[in-house]
């Protein structure tokens, strides 16, 4: 699968010297291990370079100031050329360092023409309430559509409103372009386990036997969790955590069960589990809820953290 990047998900707030920020690097590494390819529209590259050039200039200024200070105090040192010591990062090389293939994709004349037309006539995917006609984003959009169309499917990594707005749904769908606004959603799409997925899988493993033993869900021996998507966690004042996610199970009978699951837990202890909007194939399954164990948690940690913060702000 080809994965196209907008600059907002390659954003770094400092001079990238030898390695991209950790979250980006880890994602690229995972993509490389699964044989996916990275495409960087030239527009993204130029935006990345512009931002990095500001950091390079700042570093050179800092070196000049340091030299002036040393001169002022007559400290002897070997002369140096600051601009020769600091080089602009090479985005393509930095991406390839993560073990993944990277291609820089220049826009075609057709990409420019389409972007120009859409900007001027405010055609989709342009959100109706945005004032700026952002040509750069439209050029990236056109490149992404072109790549997805030629590959039958591709992923556009972007948080930009123009790229994620529902007005682009039809065009994206026609070309097979999938839009992802975070690394976690992309991990899910590429079937790469996320940290949240790993935790939920561990929790399900502790209760799957009980779910199989009951008659309420169509889960039989050999049933297992296949995928977890869009997990959302929140903690309670009682010291427990709730997590909900879209899940898919193989039922052990050759069918698949999909459901929104909600689990209340603490550590590795599951207290309750719910299955809602569940379907086995096309058949709807009644909502299911089960208390697994008595809650045996302590509120001491939450109370302690709150007390220390209250003391700090003088409440």
């Amino acid at each position: 699968m080809k994965i196209i990047f907008n600059s907002d998900l390659l954003f770094a707030t400092y001079l990238v010297e030898d390695r991209l920020p950790k979250a980006i690097f880890e994602f690229l590494q995972a993509c490389g291990e699964k044989g996916h390819e990275i495409c960087i529209p030239e527009t993204t590259l130029l935006e990345f370079n512009r931002k990095q050039a500001e950091f390079v200039e700042k570093e050179i200024r800092n070196l000049r100031r340091a030299r002036d200070l040393l001169d002022k105090y007559e400290v002897k040192f070997d002369d140096f050329d600051g601009s020769a010591l600091i080089s602009d990062p090479n985005l393509s090389a930095l991406i390839q360092d993560a073990g993944v293939t990277c291609t820089i994709v220049p826009p075609t004349l057709e990409d420019f023409r389409n972007a120009h037309r859409k900007a001027c006539s405010r055609e989709a995917p342009h959100p109706p309430d945005i004032k700026s006609d952002e040509m750069r984003d439209l050029v990236i959009w056109e490149i992404a559509l072109r790549i997805a169309g030629s590959e039958n499917c591709a992923i556009l990594m972007s948080r930009d409103e123009l790229h994620t707005h529902h007005r682009g749904d039809q065009e994206a769908s026609d070309c097979g372009l999938i839009r992802c606004d975070s690394f976690e959603r992309a991990y899910e799409l590429l079937s790469i386990e996320t940290e949240s997925g790993r935790v939920i899988r561990q929790l399900i493993a502790t209760v799957i036997g009980e779910l199989i033993a009951g008659d309420d869900l169509p889960l039989r021996d050999g049933a297992q969790l296949v995928s977890i998507e869009r997990p959302v966690f929140f903690d309670t004042d009682m010291g427990t955590t709730f997590v909900s996610a879209e899940s898919k199970f193989s039922t052990g009978t050759g069918t698949e069960l999909t459901a929104t699951i909600s689990i209340e837990y603490a550590g590795t202890s599951v207290f309750s589990i719910k299955f809602e909007d569940a379907k086995e194939g096309d058949s709807e399954i009644e909502n299911f809820s089960r208390d697994i164990a008595e809650q045996a948690v302590s509120t001491a940690d939450v109370v302690d953290r709150k007390r220390d913060l209250s003391e700090l702000i003088g409440e």
Binding site: F55, F233, R305, D308
Partner: protein, 137 residues
């Protein structure tokens, strides 16, 4: 905090519209002052109760209305903007890194805010900006 001394300062670090504080045990809390009411998002290195989040490698990311706002790594005490395009902050033992700037050993006294960080840069010692919600737990 990060080898900096903040005296008579209401908010040690204001990151966009979020107050970053450190308790006596060295744990980081983050309070959003965006709305009419202050909202605790991170309480002592962990997500605050009732705040939606997702686990990521080495920490968690805070979500608001289904959008990723920022991530926090409690081990390195690093706050990284996601939909917030703000410089990354790392509160280390020897200093506070803001983007590519390292601040260490300084003292701020008698200001509403110790260090202000926004999209345009960093300022040391500033009055509390107008329109911020009052800091409460």
């Amino acid at each position: 905090m990060g080898s900096h001394s903040f005296r008579n300062v209401e908010i040690p670090i204001l990151w966009g519209k979020r107050a970053i504080l450190q308790d006596k045990k060295g744990r980081i809390s983050i309070i959003s002052l965006e709305g009419e009411k202050a909202e605790l998002e991170i309480l002592g290195n962990k997500p605050a109760p009732k705040i939606e989040y997702e686990l990521v490698s080495n920490g968690f990311k805070i979500m608001r209305f289904g959008k990723d706002v920022y991530s926090f790594n409690p081990n390195s005490r690093t706050i990284t903007g996601l939909s917030l395009m703000l410089p990354e902050i790392e509160i280390g033992r020897d200093g506070i890194r803001i983007g590519s700037n390292m601040l260490s050993g300084g003292m701020v006294s008698g200001f509403g805010v110790g260090i202000v960080v926004d999209e345009h840069g960093i300022a040391m010692g500033a009055p509390l900006p107008e329109g911020l919600a009052r800091l409460v737990v």
